[in-house]
């Protein structure tokens, strides 16, 4: 792969924001499953598999699925974050396969967050 220069860093940043931004990037929803050690030990892989299955069933092309590390609240793992274009991300806690399927149907597909499984919405304070 080509070596980067400082100008490239800035370009990657801009391109990334343009492509990954929901809506502009062609995605309507972003699903993040938190997969650090404790998340995985608590069953995050099952949650990820469930999301993949549901996605395959839905046949949608506008849903982005990604992973990230520990979300910080280990006692409530497994966790996932769902972000719809133009709305604050919602963090779901203590997930099971059944809960995830319901969240997929109601929040991801129909845009209605599932209140009883959600902990919080919005972004954390960085800096």
């Amino acid at each position: 792969m080509a070596k980067l220069t400082i100008a490239d860093l800035k370009k990657i940043k801009e391109e990334y924001h343009a492509n990954q931004a929901l809506r502009e990037g062609g995605f309507r929803v972003k699903i993040t499953v938190h997969m650090g050690t404790c998340g995985i030990a608590a069953g995050a892989r099952t949650i990820m598999n469930t999301v993949m299955e549901e996605l395959a069933k839905s046949d949608k092309k506008d849903i982005a699925i990604t992973t990230s590390g520990c979300a910080g609240l280990c006692s409530q793992e497994p966790m996932a974050t769902i972000e719809l274009a133009g709305e604050p991300p919602v963090k779901y806690i203590a997930l099971t396969e059944e809960k995830m399927r319901r969240i997929f149907t109601e929040h991801v597909m129909s845009g209605k967050p599932v209140k009883e499984f959600a902990l919080v919405q919005g972004h954390e304070t960085t800096y």
Partner: protein, 596 residues
């Protein structure tokens, strides 16, 4: 003379609220206040956006701190009449906390998130650790670019010193100073080392950073390498963290591919190679000279200092070793400047610290808070208080090198100096919370078992001294404690601290010293009364129901696996000593401490 107002109305003049008519509400308020002749008592202030745009126009009335939402100009006369003349808040416009209505709370309303400021964990939940582009998109490698192109090593060192960043691994040595000492030593070959050995039981922040944001560690190391002029680095990671190793490895490969590691980084002519070294399980390898011995392929035994690693470290070359969290803090310091970094924290402890909360708490997890925050806020607000409504007894900080901070010191601000004053240490940031069911002498014994097991055996005070401490603690917790044992523990502890070779031995008696300092009565109960107040030390538990305390609820009966417990509705429970296996299921089930 400036007028003193009895009330202030803060009206939001952010874009959202103005669009919803907040300025019209302001005009209506001014008119109404003059009409009622309150203009000298109530002051109107326009504020910036407070984030509740959906509820605009919003306003807060001080000093009562009452939050009104969705106020329209035509509502103003009623509001002024009720609130400022009759002195009662208007229910209709009051903001209803989300717990009472059907909405998902926002970050600021959840105490767990509210007090946190993410710097070392700035990319938490936001990036995919296995994609370098996502790190770059969040300003990744911009600090390294700045350090490599715009800054001299002296400038980097001076910025780091000015920021006041101190080592997050335990001792809290100034990072900039450490770099300066090494930068001044002449030599062609130097090493930059990252300590990811995190051996402290109860601490898992370094694991989380390596797993969730491995590039932030690499970037911190590049900046440090430039400051001391090193071209080779190692990251020493515990074998118990396979996922961290995997993600770091991937990050290194991606960075190499992109020219962010290896030869001629970003076309600046600076070279740095980084390699992962997997530890093989030895707590003492968290000590810097032991860690270096381990990388050299030897048994991880510490050596006497000086010479310090900055002068003679790995392979006898000048070396700098910093911990994972320290490196993760470096890029923002360079990118945003020392003043920005030092804007949070206390006089001598700047910035934020990551803590791993665990034990008897409702919320267990990883939190990052500004230095100086009271212990109480961490435990009760962020941690959500003690689980099962039990009583908070103590919090253990610093692992086997640290100590227990009792409930009476819960207002202690959390920074290096204040934690040291309690007898505990900041350590890497593990906080294990204990309730009344934890026995302190047994806790001290637990840590001494650990130290005795992990002592490398090189120096006598640590090898023999800790074993002797453990023997004394074993007899105390098994009911064979002797008069004078407490004094013996104190005396021996002091000697071990004074004479051990490395940090492990110098700190290993801390759990004993702090538990005696704050919970001496528990030691005395074990020795003199043959009683374990927490009912943990089995040989000291009688397994007899206290008739006066028993509430006749039958919880113990339901928990007993052997049928030793006899109970009928409305009757005091009884334990049959013939059948009892002393498994303590009944003690755990009893909410009233009625089994002795």
């Amino acid at each position: 003379m400036e007028t003193t107002y009895r009330s202030n109305i803060m009206i939001c003049a952010g874009t959202g609220c103005v669009a919803n008519g907040s300025l019209k509400v302001k005009d209506a308020l001014e008119t109404e206040l003059i009409k009622r002749n309150l203009q000298k008592e109530v002051k109107i202030v326009l504020t910036g956006c407070n984030g509740f745009c959906a509820k605009g126009p919003v306003m807060v009335v001080y000093p009562e701190d009452i939050f009104y939402q969705l106020v329209k100009p035509e509502d103003v006369p009623h509001l002024v009449e009720e609130h400022f003349i009759k002195g009662r808040p208007v229910q209709k416009f009051l903001y209803t906390p989300p717990a009472q209505k059907d909405a998902i709370p926002v970050m600021n309303e959840i105490p767990f998130f509210k007090h946190q400021v993410l710097r070392a964990l700035r990319n938490r939940s936001l990036i995919d650790a296995e994609k370098i582009e996502e790190y770059i998109a969040r300003d990744g490698y911009m600090a390294a670019a700045k350090a490599l192109t715009e800054m001299t090593p002296e400038q980097i060192v001076s910025e780091m010193k000015k920021s006041g960043l101190r080592g997050r691994g335990g001792a809290g040595f100034l990072t900039g100073l450490k770099w300066e000492l090494c930068a001044r030593v002449p030599g062609d070959i130097k090493y930059i080392l990252c300590n990811g050995d995190e051996g402290d039981p109860g601490a898992f922040m370094d694991r989380s950073v390596m797993e969730a944001d491995p590039h932030s560690v690499l970037e911190g190391m590049i900046i440090a390498a430039k400051a001391i002029n090193a071209h080779y680095g190692y990251i020493y990671v515990r074998a118990e963290y396979p996922l961290a190793v995997h993600r770091l490895q991937l990050a290194i490969e991606q960075a190499k591919d992109r020219g962010l590691l290896g030869k001629d980084i970003l076309g600046t002519g600076f070279d740095l190679d980084i390699e992962i070294y997997q530890g093989a399980g030895a707590f003492v390898c968290g000590e810097e000279t032991a860690l270096m011995a381990s990388i050299e392929g030897k048994r991880g035994m510490p050596r006497a200092k000086p010479p310090f690693p900055a002068v003679k470290g790995l392979w006898m070359r000048p070396s700098v070793l910093n911990n994972v969290e320290t490196f993760a803090n470096v890029p923002p310091v360079i990118l945003h400047g020392a003043d920005w970094f030092a804007s949070l924290g206390t006089e001598k402890s700047k910035g934020t610290k990551v803590f791993a909360l665990s034990g008897a708490l409702n919320n267990i997890g990883l939190v990052e808070v500004p230095m100086g925050i009271p212990l109480k806020t961490i435990i009760y607000d962020i941690g959500g208080g003690v689980k099962n409504n039990r009583k908070f007894k103590a919090v253990q900080m610093g692992g086997p090198s640290g100590g227990c901070i009792p409930a009476s010191l819960i207002d202690t601000p959390v920074d290096y100096e204040n934690i040291n004053k309690t007898g505990a240490i900041m350590g890497s940031g593990g906080m294990v919370v204990m309730d009344e069911t934890t026995c302190m002498p047994a806790m001290a014994k637990f840590f001494l078992e650990f130290t005795e097991d992990e002592s490398c055996g090189k120096c006598v005070p640590c090898r023999v001294g800790n074993k002797t401490l453990l023997t004394i603690l074993q007899r105390i917790t098994s009911g064979e404690g002797r008069e004078g044992d407490i004094e013996l523990l104190l005396n021996l502890s002091q000697q071990i601290k004074d004479t051990s070779l490395c940090g492990l031995g110098q700190t290993s008696p801390n759990p004993v010293l702090t538990t005696i300092k704050y919970f001496r009565d528990e030691y005395e109960a074990h020795i003199k009364e043959h009683r374990c107040p927490a009912r943990v030390c089995t040989p000291l538990v009688k397994f007899v129901v206290d008739k006066d305390k028993c509430k006749k609820c039958g919880q113990c009966f339901r928990a007993c696996p052997t049928g030793a417990l006899k109970w009928e509705k409305g009757q005091v429970a009884y334990i049959d000593p013939e059948k009892c296996t002393k498994c303590k299921s009944c003690i755990k089930a009893c909410r009233f401490w009625s089994i002795d």
